[in-house]
Symmetry: C2
Subunit: 426 residues, 2 copies
């Protein structure tokens, strides 16, 4: 693999998430060559990933092929590859099957879940970052009810139908609400030996309230809305001693077969190779213009970046930050090519919102706090608008409309790995 000879500056973007994709769009049809490198062939609309995990949407509804999104301008090429490291001195990116030189680099490889000192918990309590994660969690949730239907032992049946979500941030809140709704409405009539509505959904949060980053009134509202859906909330406690069969929550042991991890992030390992300062969760501490010390040609954005110049605290790992940083990084590159200096970044915070269930949500729009139906409508509107790809918008609108009318989750499939699809002994 070699770089085609050309005189235009070469921009390499690592990661096709919200930050990387916005940067690429901004550089489309400009006087640069752009290479986008991602280890998947699609851009994933992560805010709706929990809906794949809870069988409301299909993987294809919230993913758009990166090539297709960026196909219009010939100055952009897309490579499906896993980045191993960056050599910032030599201005090279190393991948499993080759390397690329760059003149400018945007690193946007995001974060994975962190299990702190317990990597062995990942299999017991999967997190929710990728489509594969979502399909695996969907499989576990649906299998739990299937197995409970076949179990006659009362205690084992209760353990099969007890779902524990560790972490009360937006993802944890969304998962807890969605599982409670599936159990109470979607699956209500499907079983003969169990009543899915008897399922317990337990949400664990170490802070005193869920949605720690939200204003207090919305935290309280979210907890009330979850409670109305039947979700049990345990705050001020931590999960310990995870096993196949259960976990400890504070002093209490909870038998539970299905556990989901929504606590703690670890930034992508790619950041470590940059030679820049790194914070405690692996994020790269960037300058106020998103560049790294000593390398104005390298910018780090999104979940991988620790940008503390605006509020004194790192900006949150949410898509609006990544998107604004992506556009800013692209503008910085165009400025540097013209001999100007990169500009400092400023985040324009338009607020945040989390959904809990049908007509249940909270929204902090800065000038106003909403909850219940108005917050939910605001959430629907924003998520349809920002969903990448017009086709996806139509598809998701259709699925949501259908689900709203029928309470039916359309993607209730338990699929197995290809490897597992073997014939049993004859």
């Amino acid at each position: 693999m070699e770089n085609a000879p050309a005189t235009k500056p070469h921009v390499v973007i690592l990661g096709g998430g919200f930050g990387g994709l916005e940067a690429a769009k901004k550089l489309a049809c400009e006087e640069v060559r752009v290479t986008v490198v991602d280890r998947t062939n699609y851009h994933l609309f992560q805010p709706l990933l929990y809906q794949v995990a809870t069988a409301a949407l299909s993987p294809a509804d919230i993913a758009a092929p990166i090539r297709a999104v960026l196909s219009k301008c010939k100055n952009i090429e897309v490579i499906l590859a896993e980045v191993q490291a960056v050599d910032a001195q030599a201005k090279k990116v190393r991948m499993a099957d080759g390397e690329r030189d760059y003149d400018f680099l945007i690193v946007a490889t995001g974060a994975r879940h962190s299990y702190f000192d317990h990597p062995e918990w990942e299999k017991l309590a999967p997190g929710l970052k990728s489509l594969e994660d979502a399909v695996e969690i969907r499989r576990r949730i649906l299998m739990a009810f299937e197995q409970a239907e076949k179990i006659s032992d009362e205690a084992a049946r209760r353990a099969a139908m007890t779902f524990v979500i560790v972490g009360g941030g937006p993802t944890g809140v969304e998962m807890a609400g969605a599982i409670a709704e599936i159990a109470r409405y979607t699956l209500a009539k499907d079983f003969r030996h169990i009543d899915p509505a008897q399922a317990r959904v337990i949400l664990i949060e170490g802070e005193p309230r869920v949605l720690a980053a939200y204003p207090e009134d919305l935290q309280i509202s979210a907890m009330k809305q979850l409670h109305d859906l039947g979700v049990e909330i345990r705050t001020g406690v931590h999960a310990t001693n995870l096993t196949e069969d259960g976990l400890n929550v504070g002093d209490e042991y909870i038998p539970s077969r299905v556990k989901i991890w929504a606590a703690g992030n670890n930034a992508s390992y790619v950041g470590h190779s940059l030679g820049a300062p790194i914070d405690r969760v692996g994020r790269v501490i960037v300058n106020d213009d998103l560049t790294i010390p000593g390398h104005p040609e390298v910018q780090v954005i999104g979940d991988l970046a620790n940008f503390s110049h605006q509020t004194g605290k790192p900006l949150p790992g949410v898509s609006p930050v990544a998107m604004q940083q992506g556009r800013h990084a692209a503008r910085n590159i165009l400025a540097m090519i013209e001999g100007r200096k990169p500009q400092r970044f400023r985040y324009w915070d338009k607020g945040s919102m989390a959904t809990i269930g049908r007509a249940r949500a909270v929204a902090d729009l800065k000038f106003i706090h909403l909850n219940g139906l108005p917050a939910w409508l605001a959430w629907l509107f924003v998520h349809i608008i920002f969903l990448v790809g017009f086709r996806n918008r139509l598809a998701v609108l259709f699925q949501w409309g259908w689900a709203y009318l029928t309470f039916n989750a359309g993607a209730r499939l338990i699929t197995r790995n290809f490897q597992a699809e073997q014939r049993p002994p004859t």
Copy 2:
């Protein structure tokens, strides 16, 4: 797991495919207890599986949860389990996690692909029977273009972009046409270093023409329509010496990374445990009323059954046969409960159709042979009508309408196994 005490006769149906589902629907709300056992939680609309394999549809579009389809009548329960064997003497079905007694049994566990004496070919050239198969084939097809984009060696690039489909029945014809269309239209603008339209699609058939079961004029028309799409057809030859890198077709060696198997079926292993006569591909040779010798309480239907009483040849393994047999088997059971004898089965053949691409198809409607656009419209109509679940019908109509307008395949995702989703070494 125990059977609830009850005096109504207990009907066990093995398999939730076309045959099993029709039987269950016919027995819904009747004076029997029904248990449907399937190893997946969904009914799969197999005639559209090739569209999942070629990224036109999502798995959830062509699958319906069996529980949901059968939830209305309380006399039906559904069990997710893998059947191991039937003990026809003791009237018991054995599963991995328990057994069930039955008064009447309908065996509808279908068929898998047969690799004749070469089981090692399964990994090299996957067949297309399950959703897992389809997602794996989709991954291989899309990955082939991704890899070709990164390869600079001309011969290796050609091998990556050469797709060989072994078997010229309806599935092989549909796959060949769909891959040719993806390459020529859907992916046309996505790559920078390759021209996807240069991909070779080669269809191999041992008989003198494709679609051996169709009338000769439609065979010839299908071959012409495939040819117009750029598909190379090799008839009267067989595939041998499959490896990762290629295969022999007759005397010719064809370098090819992606091979797909659409030749030969082997009936489900469950048939062997019945103690009834078995044909050379594992099908159970049934009486003219679908029962097996000596066991009027056991009926075998669909792809697992060899029913030769009507034409002297076994009926083909297509969904109309399975559905008619499913309904007939249910009627037979209701008759036997009332003390009457099971009736002989008669297949009403309404014809068959295969699609090749956009506005390309053949249809044998018995009273008329169609090809091209009229055949394609007939195909669309029939497949929408028979798709299980009103939601699926709407979803597929939407996807097809969108694809027709934009030539865009909506489900172009390369997804990996959960196990493979590991972080690379840091």
